[in-house]
Amino acid sequence: MNVTWYLVLSAFIFAMGAAGVLTRRNPLVVLLCLELMLNAGNLALIAFSRMWGNADGQIFALVVMVVAACEVVVGLGIIVGIFRRRIPEDVDALSELRG
């Protein structure tokens, strides 16, 4: 079978994630979009590993899942911290540092 369609789909997901990161203001949604980008990578890896018939891609994908989870958790932690500071939940409000 042909991997092209998997690739197209993963590229599409990647683009969607990127677009979300660029347009959304709610940090939680931004985190979701980052997950999309990473999982697009996963999909591509699985497809390729299928194509080449070796397992490296799958192992890679497993690792990536864990890494993604860790990133999300750290992100959530920081967001919680920010919320405790009563800063509005809005990535655009975080533009104190500039210039």
Partner: protein
């Protein structure tokens, strides 16, 4: 002890002086730091003499030696030793530098007495002499660059020595940046030669390599030589990189004497003399250099005509005189150029010291319109200053007479293009004689100004401290600059230094009297033995003719000055009224600074505003992008405009960058 061992000692003493003074300054009482510094330089001078004696014992062709202390950078591709190269040329420079520096140290011992930064001053001064000696003794081009940059740094910290003067710090910055332009050019030249002349860094290696790598007027070689020229011009304040030197007069007067007249600014001359084989391989580059030098010497002389700030007059005359030296070394008259370098070091340092003494008597005022009639009250300064002025005007039998006219005589002898340059030189000589005596007559003759009268009554004038440039008040409690002033008449160290220099300025010419003594030429010949101009020296008779012509010109200039300022004072005023345009041109230094402003500063500023505007509209939507400096306004504005603090904008930037990369690679895939 071998010549190189002496050479290392020459470097060791000033370095030790710097360290000792800068670490132990709390412990040094009174003038101790000053005497310590002077002693270190004197020791360096003695060692230089020792090295010379050692070298002269050898056969002429063997009069060069290099020694390596340790490997500075030794690895694949590069091999540089921390090494010095001792030959008549470097020793000549070392002698002049350490000798004159010693006298200037002695002068400073009393001139800077009341300055709070006394020890700091001498630490800097020793550091400067060390870097300068490292420059002239460097065994390869990399060490030369190290010394070169060190000298630039020293001049920066010494110009801004009185850092409470905003004008002083600004001038320091200006000098440093201009010098760095030179450094960059020098580094690029070094790499060009390293790459194309067979991976050599030692001077002889480079020369040998380029001789077989390049034919005559090879493009790369010309480029390298021109880069060297840019470096030399930046350090020696030649047009168009000269604007920093007049501002550098913000530093203490002895500094002006040391760095900006006697030693540092001559580094460029040394550089070109050191690399003369390359310039002889690339005559085009040499001719371009000579052309610029000729223009500089004329231009600077005319500027010195109109300016009224005593120290700046001498500064411009320095630019002009270095133009003569550049002319000499770039057209092949090496011993002429170096001869003039030596004599100029004597009489220009002397002139600065005299100026310092007068400024002391004027309580810090530098404007010659305010001066006059110091003839009686400052007898000693007067005499020495006149000696210096005569030498500068190349009046027989002063040292300047022989040296300057040897350069011009040589160019006349080469004829053609060089004859034109020589004629420019003679014309400038007339102006030189005129403005040097303009100084004498305006400062020492005429009616005695109040300060002069009070000095005749025996007390030193005590005006309140004003910044000579901006006229703003300065509190002397902090001691930058010192509260009291000092004049040669009352301080024996100043007297000592000035009288020795005066003697040298008078008799300095004997080392090269045409037909009588060729000591300097014989001393330097081993270096320039391979030069193709070694035998194209003018005959004694023709050079004597040149000397007579020069003397006539000098006499004429002095007489004109005498007429203008003594016989009918105010003549100059009438002339200026007759041709106001010329007057304005000279006063404004031919509008160089304005030219720079129009050429570089304003366009970039407008660009900056434009860029800022666009950026704000397109990306930031009104986020302020402030504080962009004028020169790189546009770049800073854009760089900081993109830095608007929005995570989203950063992500956009990243994805755009990735898009660019991806596009590049896809294009590669497509073709």
């Amino acid at each position: 002890m071998s010549a190189t061992a002496w050479g290392w000692l020459v470097l060791a003493f000033p370095l030790a002086g710097t360290v000792v003074i800068s670490l132990g300054w709390r412990a040094l009482p009174g003038r101790m730091a000053g005497w310590l510094g002077s002693g270190a330089i004197l020791a360096a001078f003695v060692c230089a003499v020792g090295a010379t004696v050692k070298l002269q014992k050898l056969a002429p062709h063997a009069r060069h030696a290099s020694s390596t202390l340790f490997d500075y950078a030794h690895s694949a591709g590069i091999n540089i030793g921390m090494s010095i190269y001792v030959d008549p040329l470097s020793l000549f420079m070392a002698l002049v530098v350490s000798g004159v520096s010693f006298l200037i140290h002695v002068y400073s011992v009393s001139y800077m007495t009341s300055d709070r930064g006394y020890s700091r001053y001498f630490a800097y001064l020793n550091y400067f002499v060390f870097s300068m000696l490292l420059l002239v003794l460097a065994g390869n081009i990399i060490i030369l660059i190290v010394g070169w940059a060190g000298v630039g740094m020293a001049s920066y910290i010494l110009i801004s020595f009185w850092y409470r003067r905003t004008t002083a710090t600004a001038a320091g910055m200006k000098a440093f940046v201009m010098n760095v332009i030179g450094d960059v050019a020098l580094v690029l030249a070094a790499f060009l030669l390293w790459r194309h002349a067979g991976h050599h860094v030692s001077f002889n290696g480079i020369f040998a390599g380029s001789k077989q790598a390049f034919g005559t007027n090879n493009g790369t070689l010309i480029a390298a030589c021109l880069l060297l020229t840019v470096g030399a011009f930046a350090k020696s304040a030649q047009v168009p990189l000269h604007t920093w030197l007049p501002d550098a007069m913000e530093g203490p007067t002895p500094v002006s004497a040391l760095i900006h007249a006697a030693t540092m600014v001559t580094a460029g001359v040394y550089l070109i003399a050191r690399f003369h084989p390359l310039y002889e391989l690339a005559p085009t580059a040499a001719d371009i250099t000579a052309g610029f030098a000729a223009f500089t010497l004329f231009y600077a002389a005319t500027c010195a005509l109109a300016i009224t700030d005593l120290k700046r007059i001498i500064a411009y005359s320095t630019i002009s005189q270095i133009g003569y030296m550049m002319l000499g070394v770039s057209t092949g008259g090496y011993d002429g150029g170096l001869f003039h370098l030596m004599t100029h070091a004597f009489f220009k340092a002397l002139l600065f010291m005299g100026a310092g003494s007068v400024i002391g008597a004027m309580a810090g005022i530098q404007d010659i319109d305010r001066m006059g009639g110091f003839r009686k009250s400052m007898r000693f300064t007067y005499v020495t200053f006149v000696v210096g002025a005569l030498a500068l005007a190349s009046f027989p039998p002063m040292s300047g007479w022989f040296s300057k006219d040897e350069i011009l005589g040589f160019d006349v002898h080469r004829g053609g293009y060089y004859l034109v340059l020589a004629i420019i030189g003679f014309a400038a000589a007339l102006i030189t004689a005129f403005y040097s005596f303009r100084m004498v007559f305006r400062v020492f003759h005429g009616a005695a100004v109040p300060e002069a009268q009070s000095l005749e009554r025996g007390e030193l004038a005590h005006g309140e401290h004003l910044n000579p440039m901006t006229g703003e008040h300065e509190d002397t409690d902090v001691g930058f600059p010192g509260a009291e002033h000092h004049i040669a008449e009352r301080e024996w160290p100043m007297k000592f230094a000035m009288s020795i220099l005066a003697v040298l300025a008078i008799i300095g010419g004997i080392v090269g009297i045409p037909g009588v003594t060729h000591w300097l030429r014989n001393f330097l010949d081993p270096v320039f033995a391979d030069s193709k101009f070694i035998n194209t020296q003018p005959t004694d008779t023709s050079s004597w003719i040149g000397l007579v012509v020069g003397a006539g010109i000098a006499l004429a200039g002095i007489t004109i000055a005498y007429v203008c300022y003594i016989r009918q004072p105010g003549t100059t005023g009438r002339i200026a009224a007759r041709v106001p345009a010329l007057q304005r041109l000279f006063v404004n230094r031919w509008y160089w600074d304005e030219l720079y402003d129009a050429l570089f500063v304003r366009p970039s500023a407008t660009l900056g505003n434009f860029g800022r505007y666009v950026v704000e509209r397109a990306f930031v939507q009104g986020t302020l992008v402030g504080g962009a400096t004028r020169i790189v306004g546009v770049g800073t504005a854009i760089a900081r405009g993109l830095e608007n603090g929005y995570i989203r904008a950063y992500a956009v930037l990243m994805l755009l960058g990735f898009g660019g990369l991806g596009l590049y690679f896809l294009l590669q895939a497509a073709f």
